[in-house]
């Protein structure tokens, strides 16, 4: 599952929807670099200026609610985010993130104590999330079995490849 990830937190509140993550006017494109350049622009004009490669989005409840557009997790990847920690995710976004290999974790406690700029460490191996500035660590929610398998294989594309192979 890979090495530990460290990044600074960029925080937002509850119900951040896909229309602000990437507005529909950019959804005729799938190029993650292009999408990344418009990520969050309707929510926070400063996002693109303040983000640094490897930063971690630390957000509230129901992140990614709204449309099914897969451009949303792609935009977040394109903007250079290494992962998202949320109190909870909307279900289609949750699947889209897993499927496109964007790391996501649910952990209410970490979100509660984290402020903008805090240094966060994520251990993909154990799901342990740490706020290094505040010296606190928490376990993230477990992934369902099939999701663990998809993540272990590196996304939905290799997962389907494997299943198609088994069917033949």
């Amino acid at each position: 599952m890979g090495e530990k990830i460290r990044g600074h937190a960029i925080t937002y509140g509850d119900n951040i929807n896909t229309d602000v993550i990437i507005p529909a006017r950019y959804c005729t494109h799938f190029d993650i670099g292009y999408l990344g350049e418009h990520c969050m622009e309707d929510l926070d004009r400063d996002f693109l200026k303040k983000r640094r490669p490897g930063d971690i989005l630390v957000v509230g409840r129901n992140f990614g609610c709204g449309s099914s557009r897969e451009n949303a997790p792609l935009a977040i990847k394109g903007a250079g985010m290494s992962c998202i920690v949320a109190k909870s995710f909307a279900r289609i976004f949750y699947r889209n993130a897993i499927n496109t290999g964007l790391l996501i974790y649910e952990c209410e406690e970490l979100v509660e104590i984290t402020r903008d700029g805090d240094l966060i460490e994520v251990d993909p191996e154990t799901g342990l999330l740490s706020n290094l500035k505040r010296s606190k660590s928490f376990a993230s929610a477990h992934f369902p079995e099939v999701v663990r398998e998809i993540i272990a294989l590196g996304g939905m594309i290799p997962f389907v490849r494997k299943r198609l192979g088994e069917k033949r």
Binding site: N15, V20, P23, T28, N62, S68, N96
Partner: protein
């Protein structure tokens, strides 16, 4: 056999198991896989990268031109072109071309492609609309779409079910949109997250299909995985006229387990409006105060059906749209458009000063045919009022049913229909 809800029974029947319970993971066989011009093109290279050569069953795949049609620019024209070529290459008969198409969530039921007991995944979040016919239907993204094309099945976690019971008798000018806005305002935009919403009660039993589609359409706005209504006489009448294939009827067992049961007495419900920027911020239309608006949009997968336009026409007939206001009316499908003309509603709208557009999602996603400028306010019969959804991020979106929309178009501000009549 343990007692199950309607949703649990459909998931079990499609997964080759006798019973399921909330939290179980199943690989469910798919009866229909739907996508549109805005989600299909992205899935094609993913499908190829999966090593898939053929789709699992061309007869179970539906491709619909609706979001950015007729092509609004070169990029959207290219997206439709890729979908068109994919349909040809894989011999997909249920490919809906501009002129014979419409918004997927009205088109598929109209075409008889949805039946009770079906399991449907669609690359559009409002796929949950089909639950109005007693099917399990949920939205997915483009990678899941490609996986579904390749495998003919996909993994699902069996959701808990919340039962919503509506009691009483709906007053005049109050409809499906008001019921679902009232429900979302009570449970919040994540009140049903990861769960199934089963709508029931005497009010639903009397409700026409159009309102049932509106209600299930917005289940996702409460975070739900699916919305569903047990099939009854009204469902079967609708299906009988359209469906060519066989189907199975499922009903929730009396002893089924619900995570919550919500009862609403709706005899005194009034026409409602959702205030920006969330569909849960709901007020009575007559109590929002003087809110001048620049545009009214009547259409979308939520309220673009002939029944919605009939309600609007009752109010707009022999009246004029307020000076300085733009009224845009978009029938959801070609069939609805044809009825607008045949029933004489189109001329009422034109005489009132409204603009009728061709079937498309258009303004609901801020893509074309009525995009909002900075600082403007729109009252829309669609389903989302998020920041920037319909245009400039400083524009504001109010949501309502067709009666409030029509009355507001006449008065130039948000209005209760009883203020006009």
């Amino acid at each position: 056999m343990p007692s199950m809800t309607l949703t649990e029974k459909i998931l079990a029947a499609h997964s080759g198991v006798k019973a399921v319970k909330p939290g179980d993971l199943v690989f469910a066989k798919l009866d229909l896989v739907m996508s549109t011009d805005i989600t299909t093109a992205m899935s094609i290279p993913i499908f190829e990268a999966m090593g898939a050569v053929r789709v699992f069953d061309p007869a179970k795949i539906v491709l619909v031109n609706d979001h950015l049609v007729p092509a609004k620019d070169i990029a959207s024209a290219e997206m439709s072109k890729k979908m068109r070529e994919f349909a040809r290459e894989h011999d997909i008969q249920n490919y809906y071309e501009v002129g014979r198409s419409g918004i997927c969530h009205q088109l598929l039921p109209e075409e008889g492609l949805v039946a009770p007991g079906d399991l449907i995944l669609g690359a559009d979040s409002h796929t949950c609309t089909y639950g109005a016919l007693g099917a399990f239907a949920a939205g997915i993204g483009s990678t899941d779409l490609a996986a579904s094309w390749a495998l003919g099945e996909n993994w699902l976690r069996v959701p808990k079910t919340i039962k919503v019971i509506y009691k009483g008798r709906l007053p005049e000018w109050v409809g499906g949109k008001d019921l679902i806005l009232h429900t979302i305002s009570d449970m919040g935009v994540e009140g049903a997250r990861y769960q199934s919403l089963e709508f029931s009660g005497e009010v639903i039993s009397r409700l026409p299909m159009a309102d049932r589609f509106t209600i299930c359409n917005m289940a996702v706005e409460a975070g739900a995985k699916n919305g569903i209504i047990e099939p009854d006489e009204i469902t079967l009448q609708y299906v009988k006229e359209r469906r060519k294939k066989k189907y199975r009827l499922f009903k929730s067992d009396p002893g089924a387990t619900y995570s919550n049961i919500l009862e609403y007495e709706v005899s005194h419900l009034e026409p409602l409006v959702a205030l920006p920027p969330l569909p849960s911020q709901v007020q009575k239309a007559r109590e929002v105060g003087r809110i001048p608006i620049h545009q009214v949009f009547l259409g979308s997968c939520t309220n673009g059906r002939i029944e919605d336009f009939r309600i609007a026409a009752k109010i707009l007939r022999r009246r004029k749209v307020a000076k300085g206001l733009r009224l845009i009316l978009i029938p959801a499908t070609q069939t609805v458009f044809r009825m607008l003309v045949l029933e004489g509603l189109a001329s009422h709208f034109i005489d009132a000063g409204g603009l009728i557009g061709p079937p498309t999602c258009g303004p609901c996603i801020g893509s074309h045919m009525g995009v909002m400028a900075s600082g403007e306010r729109v009252l829309s019969t669609s389903n989302r009022n998020f920041v920037g959804r319909m245009g400039d991020p400083t524009s504001e979106i109010y949501l309502s049913g067709p009666a409030v929309a029509a009355a507001s178009a006449i008065l130039g501000r948000i209005a209760d229909p009883r203020e006009v009549l």
